[in-house]
């Protein structure tokens, strides 16, 4: 869908989870998100319990969560690295 933006996101998520690194990942996710089709409310969900991040994060709020939450940054790193 947006290979270039996706690859940039992957690269930022490979950086250490510092405030600067999370800020860069959040910015990269925002740019990727702009390439997604509009018209629904996509939300990333999980069945985790007490993991330190919300179980449901609307895709348009992932960049905010990436910025403030190191544990969510780590989860996104693992998910994106699977690709």
């Amino acid at each position: 869908m947006a290979q270039q933006e996706w690859e940039i996101l992957k690269e930022t998520l490979r950086q250490p989870s510092s405030p600067h690194g999370r800020e860069a990942a959040a910015k990269a996710f925002s740019q990727y998100e702009r390439t997604l089709p509009a018209g629904s409310k996509p939300t990333l969900v999980s069945l985790g319990l007490g993991q330190g991040y919300p179980n449901a994060v609307p895709v348009d709020q992932i960049s905010e969560e990436l910025k403030k939450n190191p544990k969510f940054f780590e989860l996104m790193h693992e998910i994106v690295e699977s690709d």
Partner: protein
């Protein structure tokens, strides 16, 4: 022979996972179905004993599977082995493959299928009233549905597991959405099958689909 199907329905992830199982699995499993507020520890542990298969979804961590409102329904070291002994288990939950899954095998479960990491997927929150019609979520949850249906057809745990893995791979190859594709691969990479790969249950009658969709219980606090 009875079956145990545990389906919490209180937040977006549980409504999505339970919604698909309610739509595609519940008609083949019975008579014990713990839906929504019925999905509690006492009911689960008491009513699982006569079942030959347990299918449960809910929030979890390495040693806990929960039901309605995160009520613990199964915790490592805190259940009667009769709850799981001699049964085929499928837990659609996070991380139970690390401790709870092995513990059920140690307590006599024939097989356990679940996940060693978080189970993640993308849902369309606009479909929360009819989660089984969510095309985003279907890419991840339908392979699980196909796997459970294979178990109910009398296929082995290994065959059912392979069907789920192939489903993730197929859907990952077809989707153009990178985030959804990554979630599919993540779930596939972290899926766990333990115990006897040849374990199977007595086949259940096939249901001619499509059935009318089930009613969804609307929680007052969602």
């Amino acid at each position: 022979m009875t079956s145990m199907l545990a389906l919490p329905l209180y937040d977006l992830p549980t409504r999505s996972s339970s919604g698909f199982l309610l739509r595609w699995i519940a008609p083949r499993m019975g008579p014990v179905q713990l839906i929504s507020i019925l999905d509690t520890s006492g009911a689960f542990q008491a009513l699982s004993v006569p079942s030959d298969i347990i299918v449960a979804t809910g929030h979890g961590n390495p040693d806990i599977l929960t039901g309605h409102k995160e009520a613990v329904i199964l915790r490592v070291g805190d259940y009667d082995p009769k709850v799981v002994a001699g049964k085929v288990l499928k837990f659609l939950s996070c991380q139970t493959g690390n401790q709870l899954g092995p513990d059920t095998i140690n307590n006599g479960a024939l097989s356990y299928a679940g996940y060693g990491a978080d189970y993640v997927w993308v849902v369309d929150a606009d479909k929360w009233m009819t989660p089984w019609s969510d095309e985003f979520a279907a890419k991840s949850i339908m392979p699980v549905v196909d796997s459970i249906n294979a178990l109910l057809d009398g296929e082995t745990a290994q065959t059912a597991f392979d069907i789920e893995m192939e489903g993730y791979t197929r859907n990952a190859d077809l989707t153009e959405n990178e985030l959804i594709r990554s979630c599919l691969k993540y779930n596939r990479n972290n899926a766990v099958l333990l115990g006897d790969p040849e374990a199977r249950v007595k086949p259940r009658p096939k249901i001619t689909m499509p059935l009318p969709p089930p009613p969804i219980i609307v929680p007052v606090n969602l």
